[in-house]
Symmetry: C2
Subunit: 218 residues, 2 copies
DNA sequence: CCATGTGAAAGCGTTCACAGCG
DNA sequence: CGCTGTGAACGCTTTCACATGG
């Protein structure tokens, strides 16, 4: 029993992981998956999988497992992935370039509909399937294209200013790759990914080749 | 009191964040930082900062705060960042390209000393400051250059195989960007970063414009 | 007097263990 | 009989609150 409880943050962060495993299973024409198998492929504990999925409702069958297609639909619905989401990329450097042509985005329903840069030399150039616009046109274009999520790939020095402008223009979610913390009001969602920090964390565990549990997730 | 305790995983993940803030403070010629200010700039709670730093020892001065330069040295030492770390990138696609020329790496002591790809067309081309080698030469080159950390930016389908080969060649830490979970023995450290998953997590909070705490860190 | 360092409390997240159901 | 769903136990993290010391 117990459908539609409030989903804990840690569970939310793992749902996309399960979605990925379920997707792989679907292409292998696997119709059903037990929590044991799902857990092994996701690299987590089986009890964790069952508890996480129980927050969505009782979608498994005892003695059998979870129906792959059905579970995919339920998770997609919870994550709000039923329709495409419009994304903008701010900063057309190397990382912005790479993200704009990242196949994983359109595959999972994220459409890059706008890109911006402050450098006049870059304006008008292609970034994936869009064209780079001037940051000065950002507020107008963001509203015109109804952008929901923005990815910041600018230098650290301008990231906070960019974030402020994005929020002012109605963007509700920000994925920040600039190596600085951007501070946002509580009604805006941010995730901060610092590629250098990831390496530094690995460096710690490499340096202490004794301590416990050296694995960690996204 | 109490120097060199065992440092909790959550604290380890935040130390590089503090390092980043301290670095910014140093360039502003700030010599001393209180836990309040440090916390605000890192986007965390002040008590958290104090507790985290207390695991390294008593490096603050009551009534004053923390000496920026001294604290930087202590954190660097703990993270094992005193000397440069040798990094390899496997997969010379867009993301591999971007990472190879990412300024944040050399700045923080990570040297990209090797790059690999399976595509013969890419072998010999430049990737940042190195040249792309064939994956078949990977074991030899990894050992020759004493690579400690590897970054996987290959398609998901080959990521696990690459990880296995890396571990066999003595690489102890892996940063995986391929959109699949790589399973490794417990003595190897992995961090999995899936750019699509980050967007999906944001999508959840965008879709539920009511629930609590929408911020989360790397 | 101000900011650190830290016990203690509160809050989360994970894992266990097993009842319950297909 | 096998696997889900879940209370309860456990361990980790965060936050509070204040004694301590420069």
């Amino acid at each position: 029993m117990a459908s539609a409880r409030r989903i804990p943050e840690a569970t939310v962060a793992r749902l996309p992981l399960y979605l990925r495993v379920l997707g792989e299973a679907a292409t292998e024409r696997t119709t059903t998956l037990s929590s044991d198998v799902l857990a092994a492929r996701a690299g987590v504990n089986a009890a964790q999988v069952r508890k996480d999925l129980s927050f969505l409702g009782s979608y498994g069958t005892r003695g059998v497992g979870y129906d792959v297609d059905y579970l995919v639909r339920q998770i997609n619905r919870q994550l709000g992935l039923d329709d495409d989401r419009r994304v903008a990329i701010v900063g057309a450097g190397n990382l912005g370039q790479a993200l704009a042509s990242y196949a994983g985005f359109p595959e999972r329903g994220f459409q890059v509909v706008a890109a911006f840069d402050a450098d006049p030399a870059k304006i008008g150039s292609r970034l994936g399937s869009t064209v780079v616009s001037a940051v000065t046109d950002m507020p107008r274009i963001l509203r015109e294209k109804d952008v929901e999520i923005a990815i910041i790939t600018t230098p650290a020095s301008v990231a906070q200013g960019v974030a402020n402008a994005l929020i002012k223009a109605g963007v509700g979610s920000i994925l920040n790759f600039a190596p600085t913390t951007v501070i946002v009001p509580s009604q805006v969602a941010v995730r901060q990914v610092d590629l250098g920090i990831e390496l530094q964390i690995l460096s710690f565990y490499h340096h202490h080749i004794d301590t416990t549990a050296a694995t960690a997730g996204s």
